[in-house]
Assembly symmetry: C2
Homo-oligomer: 378 residues x 2
């Protein structure tokens, strides 16, 4: 095919679209923030995605614009849409992923199950929420948070005073999001692909294991899941994708409570860490599916190719030089492990790659994935 | 990793190394014959591989040189080796793949089972071979043949006079290869990866179906195969890889005779059409394995991820414009089919892509693969 997809952002998600783009015959073009980023092989432009002229110039030569992240400002997105550029996901959907208060309000309108929440503008309002919810709660900045940043557990209304002060300085004003502290048994993620023309395919719900607010491991499908749980998760994903008219990949992060309810935690409208297992564990990877979806091509089969897949993230720490030796050692000990690297300079806590293992014995699959990834630990 | 592999030749085999290179973190550089070839995304140079200076300049900045084809002349390979460049497969191994008479002689030295053969320099010698082998035989030009070109079934010694005349004009002189016409039940292919340090991994033997001298379809593993047959095929592959000191991927094309013997037909020292199924059907694809092997990295698991995989080639015919619509139709009807495109302008009989399907029911897998590929037929 001679279709062209333009990706704004040159991180690892854009990088991992390169492989399926080559095989599909889709020309992938990337607007990277800087030279030498993860997706540099496909980078045809380097520039600031906050600048409408830069993004519009990049968009001129492609059939559709999509994203490595959700941070492109609404005014830039509006310029694209006004110029007739196909933007997937579109600005209205992205707004929900960009602002956690908008997200909570829209999910409430859609009747989605979620934690109790409120928009609070000062310490007194926060304290009132705390008083009504057992004295502890989670406060989040509506914008800009990821991987645990912009998230704080508080037990007093004054513990977010610094964030309230920052909001007060921001000309846009606004509020913080406060959510009840959910007593969850585990965290899950549900992915759904949706085409502009409306067709959808749901991936199996997966279990995600977080450490220090960062995704550490994913098990696909989520073990010990009843048919009902799997169906409810898929229904939530489909309802959100449809309700928000998401195009491309949607990831819905979920809490499974100790009383077996599912509550929506976060949304991402792009390929997501919880779906990296699909590169080696599903008929159609989330990266291929995202390309197909944003191009409004027929979606691929999201079914797993083995009973189980486990993904373990590789976090930075070791210096670049030692990564090669560690890589060879991991490959040698675990020939069934698929090691994916992001071409990023390692620094502590930074995601620099991941390991996928698939197979029919979950204990063995999880062991192999963790053991292979452990070669990259300090 | 920051390892760099240089591939001489910009065809689809180089193109299909791009995806695993990105994921492994290997920097792939391609010396393409022309602009706009299959592997153009990774093409860092365009030039003539017959020119030693061109190839040597390309090789200066990479850790290892490997190939999209076996056509790089020995004098060019010698210049690389003399300059200290790591070349995999090396010139001695490649010579065997470049000249079918050399191949027959070396396989005989290794004690490999093969059809009766002879080097013939004129019609009388050819007639003598025919008289001793039932009056019909296969004549092959030792160099430059592929996909059925340079191969002719003859029943009279004079039927290769044009080729003898061409040989006579060639300053190098030489002979034609004549082989007995094997009464084969089917054709198989055995792939083996070998590292410079000697470690090897064998893929399961597959069945290849040829139409008009061109590979049409591959079934992996070869159906209705006894354990003995699979073991013998692997032993032949390993013995040849070791005996010829092949580095990277080796494909051994085999005849299975009606009395269940295996005879070596052809060799290829690179990823091969018979291994395309492994992109979606094996833990480690032949393209990833080739990169690992030529870099002397630990080899990956060659095991299938499902019981069966079927690959069907897409041959040119339809015009470029219609390929998009056909692609979408194939994707729509067969969401489990993996369509791989080569970015080549279609022309009749030219390989422009292939379809892989994997699963546990061979009838269904073969049906899906053939049906998906049929969308690309005229």
């Amino acid at each position: 095919m001679s279709l062209r997809v333009g990706v704004v952002g040159g991180g690892q998600l854009a990088r991992m679209m390169i492989a399926p783009a080559v095989e599909l015959g889709v020309e992938l073009r990337v607007l990277a923030e800087d030279v030498g980023m993860s997706a540099s092989l496909a980078a045809t432009a380097v520039g600031d995605y906050h600048d409408a002229d830069t993004v519009l110039a990049f968009a001129r030569d492609v059939d559709v614009i999509t994203f490595d992240h959700e941070h492109v400002p609404q005014d830039v997105l509006a310029v694209l849409v006004d110029a007739g550029v196909a933007v997937h996901p579109g600005p209205d959907a992205l707004r929900v992923a960009q602002d956690k208060l908008v997200m909570r309000a829209r999910l409430a309108e859609l009747g989605m199950p979620q934690p109790d929440w409120a928009a609070v503008t000062d310490a007194a309002e926060l304290q009132a929420f705390l008083d009504a919810h057992g004295g502890r709660a989670v406060v989040k900045t509506p914008r800009g948070g990821y991987d645990g940043k912009g998230v704080r557990v508080v037990s007093a209304g004054t513990e977010a005073d610094d964030w309230f002060a920052t909001l007060a300085e921001d000309a846009r004003g606004g509020a913080l999001l406060v959510e009840e502290l959910v007593d969850f048994a585990r965290e899950l993620a549900q992915q759904v692909a949706r085409r502009p023309s409306g067709a959808m395919r749901a991936y199996p719900v997966v279990e995600t294991v977080q450490r220090g607010g960062v995704c550490a491991e994913v098990i696909a499908p989520a073990p010990h899941s009843s048919e009902r749980l799997r169906a409810v998760a898929a229904e939530i994903g489909v309802a959100i994708a449809e309700g928000l008219e998401v195009t491309g990949m949607l990831a819905v992060e979920l809490f499974e409570t100790t009383d077996e309810r599912l509550l929506v935690n976060e949304l991402a409208m792009r390929p997501h860490n919880s779906g990296h297992w699909s590169q080696d564990g599903a008929v159609t990877s989330q990266f291929e599916q995202h390309l197909r979806a944003v191009l409004d091509l027929p979606l691929g089969d999201p079914d797993p190719v083995a009973e189980w897949a486990v993904m373990v993230n590789i976090l930075g720490g070791p210096a670049e030089e030692s990564l090669d030796a560690r890589f060879a050692a991991a490959m040698s000990e675990h020939p069934q492990a698929k090691v994916h690297t992001y071409g990023k300079a390692p620094r502590p806590g930074r995601k620099v790659g991941h390991v996928n293992v698939s197979g029919d014995d979950l204990d063995d699959v999880a062991y192999q994935a963790r053991a292979a990834a452990s070669f990259f630990l300090d």
